[in-house]
Every structure is written in structure tokens, then in C-alpha cells.
Assembly symmetry: C2
Homo-oligomer: 235 residues x 2
């Protein structure tokens, strides 16, 4: 089966967590909205009435199924493509971890848009500065400290043991994103999360991920995505 | 099996979506942190190292499983207690809807804490006012409009058909919360979501929910929870 991924074609955004899972497992997929007529077809599906329209991109068409919400898509793909255990207990635990990544991603976005998504960053610079300061004092240590603690306790190559899961791929993306958006802050912070940095390095050289990152399928970070580099927010 | 729910004992918060599901299905459960020594035991589990510690409350102990993240808990409970379909397609769809509720709940919280959770509301009144205005102009119509559209298209008593699911219970809670936090704004807005209001009324008279709401197990809304009533935010 060829999957169809629907997501904004010019950003990594939330779609990137799905792209990484599809690429790592060499799944057969099309990034629909990057093809001709793709955005129009994505919008039609979002506006659909009768047939379970998703709330927002990304969503994945898998045969007759249309699956929305990033973590839900990964939950679906994971055990089918060797990126999650098959037993329920392991799947639930992994999904909990991914939902925690999801929460973190939303907080990353709020650093540059604390007053809301419909206003420009330029109209909320001062609150963004405050929110970002709080984010680095309180939230980054809490979230990344949690994953670091699990990695150290687990003592495996990957977060849940010897095998990579979609959560490892997502944590790779988190580290890459923070490095892009906050290079100065990250430089100082990385010494606190050595196991996460090692995990990031391990994911980066997985053959399919490496090939993907070098391809033009990998969209560059930019200031329309979740991770944005604004100098005022990274003193 | 008796479930153990772990959540902050003085607020509805995110735990309430789980409480409503447990109550509606008359599941056997203890609200652990409301009992003697409960908070200490909750903190110990959060600080655990070896045994899959959840990131944050709420989490549910189900035999040997410890399940974190509200939507994940509901995903687990749903099909076991008649609050979700058993087939995978239906479960994924329902979970997508619940994750959309989750996103909305986070945005509700940000209305009074746009600069971050570690600062008091009193220290972020002006940004809270702006964020709340944006929330009511852009976000409430988008989210509640989505659920209203699905209800109208589905034409059933509940969101996904004739049977109530955990998502219906969560939508009840959303309406109750918005009414508490923003009575003036809701009064004006409710005419735009007649089907959701009918759904709220239908959930409120379900016998187990009705009994729960009248019991002292239902914690009152207050200004430590997600839905907070601040007059400045509800002109």
C-alpha cells in the first residue's frame, strides 16, 4: 500500500515527525501537497463533511483510512513498520512518550507566538521574549530532563531499548530544531543532556535517515515552521 | 480490576476527562491523590526511574500498567468500557478527535497563562487579555465549529453515532468549562453551536454522569484549574 501524507509543502512542522518515520522504515509514500494540485486536494479533504475530515494537517491516507494528529499517525504506523513494539503495553508507553513530545512541540511554537497564531511574530516580540525566557528556564529542562533520565535509566542504544522507535526519530528532530532556533542557548544546554545528544547522533547515521537528510525531500528549517530562529530570542 | 487514577486532588483539570469516562461507565476506581498519602505516592511514581514513570498527571494504574497522557488513558479505557468502538478504524478516528480536544484544552490554559505556567496570572494580565481576544475570534470558532460540523453531518445523538463515546463526555466538559470561565462570551457564542449544546444536555442527563455531578466527587471549577473565571477576560 502506498501511503499519502498530507502536510504543508514548505515547512517541516508537525509533518516532519511523520516524514521521518516513513523515511526510516522505507515505507512507500507520497508527500501529496508537494505535488501538482496537492494543496487543493488537501484543502478539499479538510473541508469534507461526510467522511471523517481531519481537523488539520498532517494527516495520512492509508487505503480507506484517513488518520489525523501526528501522534495518532505514528501510533498507527509504528507497529506496522518495526518502529514500535506490537504488544499493547509497549505501544501505550511509546504513545505516551510521543504525546509528551507533542506537548513540547506546542510549547516551542508558543515561544514565538505567545499571543496567538493569527498575529505576526513582529507584533508580539516583547511577550515572545518573556515566554522564551520561561521556556528555557523551566520547560526545556523539565521535558528534555525527563527524556534524558529515561535514556540513562534504560541504558539502551535507544529510548526504549535496543531498537529504534518513532519516538527516537522525534527526539532527533527536537534536538535539530532547538539547535536551529536557539544555537546559543543550545550550546550552553547540551552538556546537560549527553545521552540525548548521543541518541541524536545515532539516529542521524541510520542509513535511511542519512539519505533522507541529504535529499531534497528534507525541507530546510525556516521562519514559517515550528522552530524559528529569531536573534532576539537567542541572546 | 480496580483502577487507580492519579491526579491533582483540588482541581478538575485534565484529570476530569478521565473521571468522566470512569464515572459514566461505572468503572471501579480510586481517585488516589484525594486519599490519605495519595499525593506523596503520586510524586514517588513521577520520580520513579526504572518503571516507566509518566511525565505528568493524570496517569492511570491498571494492574501492572501505568498509562500517562489523558488521551492515551481514554484510548485505553474506551473500548474496554463501551465508550469507543472496538475496530481499529473507529478507535483511530475517535482518538484523533480526542487529541483535537487536547489541543483545545492547552489553548484554553494559555488564555490566562500566555507567558508561561511558572508566572502568576497577575503578572501577565495584559498579554492574557490579548491572547483571550484572539482565542475567541479565531480559535473557539475553529475548534467548536469543527465539532458542530461533524455533529450536524453525522445526524446522530452523539458525535460518532447512536452511542456515546469518551469524546462526547469531553465535549460536555468543554462546554461546562467555557460557561464557567467565560459566561458572557459563551452566552453570545452558543447560538452558533446548537448541536453541541444539545449534546451537552444529552450527556448531562446520562444517569451515571448526573449522579457524579451531584456528588462530592465532582470538584467545583476554580481558579487553579484549566478553566478560570477572570472578569477582565470576559467583558
Amino acid at each position: 500500500m502506498r501511503y499519502e501524507l498530507y502536510y504543508w509543502p514548505t515547512i517541516q512542522g508537525r509533518g516532519e515527525y511523520v516524514r521521518l518515520a516513513l523515511e526510516d522504515s522505507a515505507a512507500d509514500y507520497t508527500d501529496k501537497a508537494r505535488g501538482r494540485g496537492g494543496i487543493a486536494s488537501m484543502m478539499r479533504m479538510l473541508e469534507g463533511r461526510g467522511d471523517m475530515p481531519p481537523f488539520a494537517p498532517p494527516f495520512l491516507k492509508a487505503g480507506r483510512l484517513v488518520i489525523g494528529q501526528t501522534a495518532n499517525i505514528l501510533h498507527y504506523l509504528g507497529s506496522r513498520h518495526g518502529l514500535a513494539p506490537k504488544a499493547e503495553a509497549g505501544r501505550l508507553w511509546l504513545h505516551q512518550l510521543q504525546l509528551t513530545v507533542t506537548d513540547f512541540v506546542a510549547e516551542v511554537h508558543d515561544t514565538h507566538h505567545p499571543l496567538g497564531v493569527s498575529l505576526y511574530y513582529e507584533d508580539q516580540r516583547a511577550p515572545a521574549k518573556k515566554r522564551t525566557a520561561e521556556f528555557w528556564i523551566e520547560r526545556v529542562p523539565k521535558y528534555l530532563g525527563y527524556f534524558e533520565r529515561l535514556l540513562v535509566a534504560g541504558n539502551g542504544a535507544y529510548l526504549t531499548g535496543r531498537k529504534a522507535t518513532y519516538v527516537d526519530l522525534s527526539l532527533f528532530q527536537i534536538i535539530e530544531g532547538l539547535r536551529y532556533a536557539f544555537p546559543n542557548r543550545m550550546k550552553a544546554f547540551e552538556r546537560k543532556i549527553p545521552a540525548l545528544i548521543e541518541l541524536r547522533d545515532r539516529v542521524a547515521i541510520r542509513p535511511n535517515i542519512k539519505a533522507y537528510l541529504e535529499s531534497d525531500r528534507r525541507i530546510a528549517f525556516n521562519e514559517d515552521g515550528i522552530f524559528r530562529h529569531y536573534r532576539a530570542l537567542d541572546p
